[in-house]
Symmetry: C2
């Protein structure tokens, strides 16, 4: 991201009718959204609309290892819930006026019937159990990443200005935890958490499953190619989100990363192409305890911190109104000169 | 607030298609909004719309003591900016679909020309210098509080469901700091901060001004009646907001408190009538350093933490979409039974 316009953008921010810096994080958001618009050749004003969340769903073989409070069929049931408009992400996207697309990347069972907002793009019937071998073949993983890139391409072509990540997949905190451990060289115990609500003993069991996944797949871990690590430990929906994030960077679109699992997709994308960091915004700090460790590691601060741990893109749907307000501030606030307001004694 | 329905509300929250507790703070917000609806006899569902912010403006005699980076005339200039739609609170309320009312409670100079959204309710030509005597007479303070109560009455009668506080008044962080020190028995140094952007030496000077205000007005401080303390150290806009908060509690309306100055108005209201706590939501943690001390003292957590320190109601305008999402979650999400989604193994 070319940052040479930063002083000009900062000067405009400082000329708006408010004490300098008094809008805090919103000023940072407006600055980066403006740099993104400029990099994309979309003018020199920030844009946060229209916004669209892709909620990508897939199953995980590791669900058979007892790492979630919910049975595997809930992935499929929740996709039906998304298509019927009854899930949290539906309610929040309607409340925030954000578009929602649901993508079947690898939900077990037959394809879903055609429904508005649904993309049937099943690559496989879920992944294999990562504690016994690789989650998927390298080719399946590349297909999922390419699918995600194509979604970003489509969004850009349709005029979308902010893309959000969302996911559904029973047991996918286990896959995300394994990816964090592999990419960031962290021991499972520091990142493994309750997910949908495990107790302490169940968390220890889950950390053991992650440990076995790392051991079993050790030849696929860094310094191996990051795509091979993603294939070995990830999920089809996670790989698709990694591709979505890569595609947003390629097309110079702002991308808002949801919670614990989406951030694992981000880390994979970042390992593949570090420039994704320029386009990424982190929606919220998850209540899943490992998330704060990871965000600290990445040196990023989330926009919201509401103790949520649901996924689906729910955090993104709540963060987008903040991005929208940041853009509106930059685009629509009066300057001191326009409004005839006296400046501070520093600016005299 | 009658909390007897809490178990029923919690049971409904736990039946929505998400892991228990996974929407974190939004579940707490939905619970309290529901209790408020029930207390008001408005049914048993939470309501966050329509929402309206009252941005109350007044001048402060203590501005003459060099406690702000901006000259006093900026209060009046900013009211013109509000009326022309160019200030941050205008932009954010438009972005969030929140109504805005601007109230002249005591801006120096002539009344403003009639403008949609403006309430001309000037009680005095600003306050007197609190470092030399009381800010206002007890009767002026009572009039300002009664004005605020009447605004809440009007909002309730017009069907408003969420009220927000906002303010404008050069030097009002000094008045707010003095109120905190008096009501919560804190030394000026622990609460006095940069406001619009003072440097360290200027902050020490401002703390000295607060100290003189406390000394000069010592007979009006606790254990004196809290209304007398408000008259001695407060501001016309602050007293009006205290009344607004009291009026919301009387009419059982949710009230969202903005930042550092609005929270001082809340503390005054709370000292007058502690039940206001049941109806109050804290929009955001201000970057003004004393605010986190005060919120900790009050044992409340703000909804947002975006490093903002602008006032006007800007934090409220950003927090209301979160309240709206919380209400929508409770009102519109599918239950496990409705959606045919399997429960967790705990709920079997």
């Amino acid at each position: 991201l070319n940052k040479s316009a930063t002083p000009d953008i900062q000067a405009r921010l400082d000329n708006l009718t408010k004490p300098r810096g008094s809008l805090g994080r919103l000023e940072d958001l407006a600055l980066r959204l403006t740099l993104i618009s400029m990099a994309a050749g979309r003018g020199n004003l920030p844009q946060a609309d229209p916004a669209r969340i892709y909620t990508c769903a897939a199953d995980h073989g590791v669900a058979a290892r007892g790492v979630s409070k919910f049975p595997q069929e809930v992935t499929r049931q929740m996709v039906f819930n998304f298509l019927n408009g009854g899930a949290a992400v539906n309610v929040f996207t309607r409340s925030s006026d954000v578009e929602l697309r649901v993508v079947d990347v690898g939900v077990k069972g037959a394809d879903f019937a055609d429904t508005p907002g649904l993309l049937n793009r099943k690559i496989a019937q879920g992944t294999a159990d990562i504690s016994a071998g690789p989650a998927m073949s390298l080719q399946e993983c590349i297909s999922a990443v390419e699918l995600g890139i194509s979604l970003a391409e489509q969004a850009a072509n349709e005029g979308i200005r902010v893309v959000g990540t969302g996911e559904m997949g029973i047991a996918n905190t286990t896959a995300a935890t394994a990816l964090y451990c592999a990419y960031l060289d962290l021991p499972p115990e520091t990142i493994t958490g309750p997910g949908t609500g495990l107790n302490e003993q169940e968390i220890r069991h889950k950390a053991g499953v992650v440990g076995r996944a790392l051991q079993t797949n050790h030849v696929e871990l860094p310094p191996a190619d990051p795509m091979r690590t993603l294939a070995a430990l990830g999920g089809l929906e996670i790989a698709c989100l990694s591709g979505l994030i890569l595609g947003c960077a390629r097309r110079k679109l702002a991308v808002v990363i949801d919670g614990f699992i989406s951030t694992a997709a981000y880390v994979a994308a970042w390992k593949i192409h570090p420039s994704v960091g320029d386009y990424a915004f982190f929606a919220h700090g998850s209540a899943e305890p490992g998330h704060s460790v990871i965000l600290h590691h990445l040196r990023v601060r989330p926009i919201l911190d509401l103790g949520m741990r649901l996924g689906e893109g729910t955090g993104v749907a709540l963060a987008i109104p903040i991005l929208r307000a940041a853009a509106a501030m930059y685009n629509n606030m009066a300057s001191f000169a326009d409004a005839g307001v006296s400046g501070s004694d520093d600016s005299a």
